[in-house]
C-alpha cells in the first residue's frame, strides 16, 4: 500500500514540475513517515500534497528569484556608471566599422538598461507585495517570473550592446578603455547568468493556486492611492504621465537648447513603445 502511494505521489510531483533530487528527498521523507504511521490515508491525497509543495516552493522561489535579479543586476549598473562617467565621448556614428550594427547597438545600449531597470523595479515591487504569502496565485508567480526574466535579459542585452558598440569604435578608443569595457561587461554578465539559471530552475514548478496576478497598481497601491490623479484601471493614462516625466528629465538633462528636445521625444516614444510591447507581459496594463 505504501509503495503504491509513493508511486502515485512521485507521479503527482512530476506533474507539478518537482523532479530530481528534490523529488527524491520528498519521497524519502514520505516513505519514512508512512513506515512510522502505516496509514497513507492520513498523509493526504497525493495530488493535494504535490500541489501544496508546488504552490509553496514556487511562491518562495519566485520571490527569491525576483530579489535575486535585482542583486544580479547591481554589478551591471555599477559597470554602466563607471563606463559612462569616463571622459572621451564616442566618435561620430560614421566612424563605426559597420554603421547599421553600431546604430542598433548604440540604441540598445541606451534603451535596454531602462527596460532592465523598470522590470527589475517591478520584480522587486511584486516580490514585496507577495512577501507574506505562503502560496500565491499561480498567475502572480508567473508575472513575477516574467519581470525577473525581462530584467535579466535586458540587463544582459545592455552589456552585450556596450561591448558591440565599443568594438565598432575600437579604432577610435584607447586600448585601456576597450579592455576596461570588455572586462567590466563580461564580469557583470556572470551574476546575470547565475540569476537566469535560478529562474530556469524555479520556472519548472507549476503552482496550482487560483487567483488574480495583480498589476503595478496593486504592487504600488500605497503610492497610487495617494496620488491626486485616478490611475488605477487607466493604464494608458499612467503610461503617458510616466513618459512625460521621463521626457522632462531627458529635456533637462540634455539641455533645452541642445540635445534635450530630441532626447525628450526619443524617451517619450520609447516609454510608450515599451509599454505597448511589454505592458501586459509585465503586469503594467
Amino acid at each position: 500500500m505504501i509503495k503504491r502511494y509513493l508511486a502515485e505521489l512521485s507521479a503527482e510531483l512530476g506533474s507539478v514540475g518537482i523532479r530530481g533530487a528534490q523529488r527524491r528527498r520528498i519521497l524519502a521523507e514520505a516513505e519514512d513517515h508512512l513506515r512510522e504511521s502505516g496509514d497513507p490515508g492520513r498523509f493526504g491525497d497525493p495530488a493535494l500534497v504535490a500541489a501544496r509543495f508546488a504552490d509553496e516552493l514556487a511562491t518562495s522561489g519566485a520571490r527569491r528569484v525576483a530579489w535575486g535579479s535585482v542583486v544580479a543586476l547591481a554589478p551591471a549598473g555599477i559597470a554602466y556608471a563607471i563606463l559612462f562617467s569616463l571622459p572621451a565621448p564616442w566618435p561620430d556614428i560614421t566612424a563605426a566599422r559597420h554603421v547599421p550594427v553600431a546604430l542598433v547597438a548604440a540604441a540598445t545600449m541606451v534603451l535596454a538598461p531602462q527596460i532592465s531597470f523598470a522590470a527589475g523595479l517591478l520584480a522587486a515591487a511584486g516580490a514585496w507585495r507577495l512577501r507574506s504569502q505562503v502560496a500565491a496565485p499561480a498567475r502572480a508567480i508567473t508575472l513575477l517570473r516574467h519581470r525577473a526574466g525581462v530584467a535579466l535579459a535586458a540587463g544582459a542585452t545592455s552589456l552585450l550592446a556596450v561591448m558591440v558598440t565599443t568594438y565598432e569604435f575600437s579604432a577610435w578608443i584607447s586600448n585601456w578603455r576597450v579592455a576596461l569595457t570588455f572586462s567590466l561587461a563580461s564580469a557583470s554578465l556572470v551574476p546575470i547568468a547565475v540569476g537566469a539559471l535560478a529562474l530556469r530552475n524555479t520556472a519548472a514548478l507549476r503552482p496550482q493556486t487560483a487567483g488574480e496576478a495583480g498589476d503595478v497598481f496593486d504592487d504600488l497601491a500605497p503610492v497610487f492611492d495617494r496620488l491626486p490623479l485616478e490611475l488605477r484601471g487607466r493604464p494608458w493614462r499612467f503610461c503617458l504621465l510616466f513618459a512625460a516625466v521621463v521626457a522632462a528629465l531627458a529635456l533637462l538633462g540634455g539641455g533645452v537648447l541642445n540635445e534635450g528636445p530630441r532626447n525628450a521625444v526619443a524617451e517619450f516614444s520609447a516609454v510608450c513603445a515599451g509599454f505597448a510591447a511589454l505592458g501586459r507581459y509585465l503586469g503594467l496594463r
Binding site: L9, R25, I26, A28, E29, A30, D32, H33, R35, E36, S37, R42, F43, G44, D45, P46, L48, V49, R52, F53, D55, E56, L57, S60, G61, R64, V134
Partner: protein, 104 residues
C-alpha cells in the same frame, strides 16, 4: 479545527515545536497533535511543504540522520529561526491578550 484556521499560524507552531529539540517530520506532526489535544489534525503530508519552505527561507536547517537502520530527515532551528520564533511569540501574546480583552 479547520485547516484554513490553522494555515496562518502553521509556521509559528512548527518553529515552536522544533525549538525544543531537533525532530523529524513524523515526530513534529505527532507533537503538533499531542500538544493541541488533537485539535490540529492536518493531512500529514501537507506539513512537509511548510518544513521545506521554512528551510528555504533559512529558518530551519535539516540533515539526514540514521536511527535504527532508518534514514530520516531531522529539522532544527537556525539562529534566524530562533529570532523569528521569539518575534512571533511576542506578537502572538500581544494579539491573544488583546482578543481576550475584547471577547471575554
Amino acid at each position: 479545527m479547520r485547516a484554513e484556521t490553522l494555515k496562518g499560524h502553521l509556521d509559528f507552531l512548527l518553529l515552536a515545536i522544533i525549538a525544543d529539540e531537533p525532530a523529524h517530520g513524523y515526530r513534529i506532526i505527532e507533537e503538533l497533535k499531542r500538544r493541541s489535544g488533537g485539535a490540529f489534525d492536518l493531512p500529514e503530508g501537507t506539513v512537509y511543504p511548510a518544513l521545506h519552505r521554512l528551510e528555504e527561507s533559512g529558518l530551519l536547517a535539516s540533515s539526514w540522520a540514521s536511527r535504527s537502520g532508518r534514514r530520516r530527515r531531522v529539522y532544527e532551528l537556525t539562529a534566524r529561526g530562533r529570532r523569528a520564533l521569539a518575534g512571533a511569540r511576542r506578537d502572538w501574546r500581544g494579539f491573544a491578550k488583546a482578543v481576550e480583552a475584547v471577547v471575554a
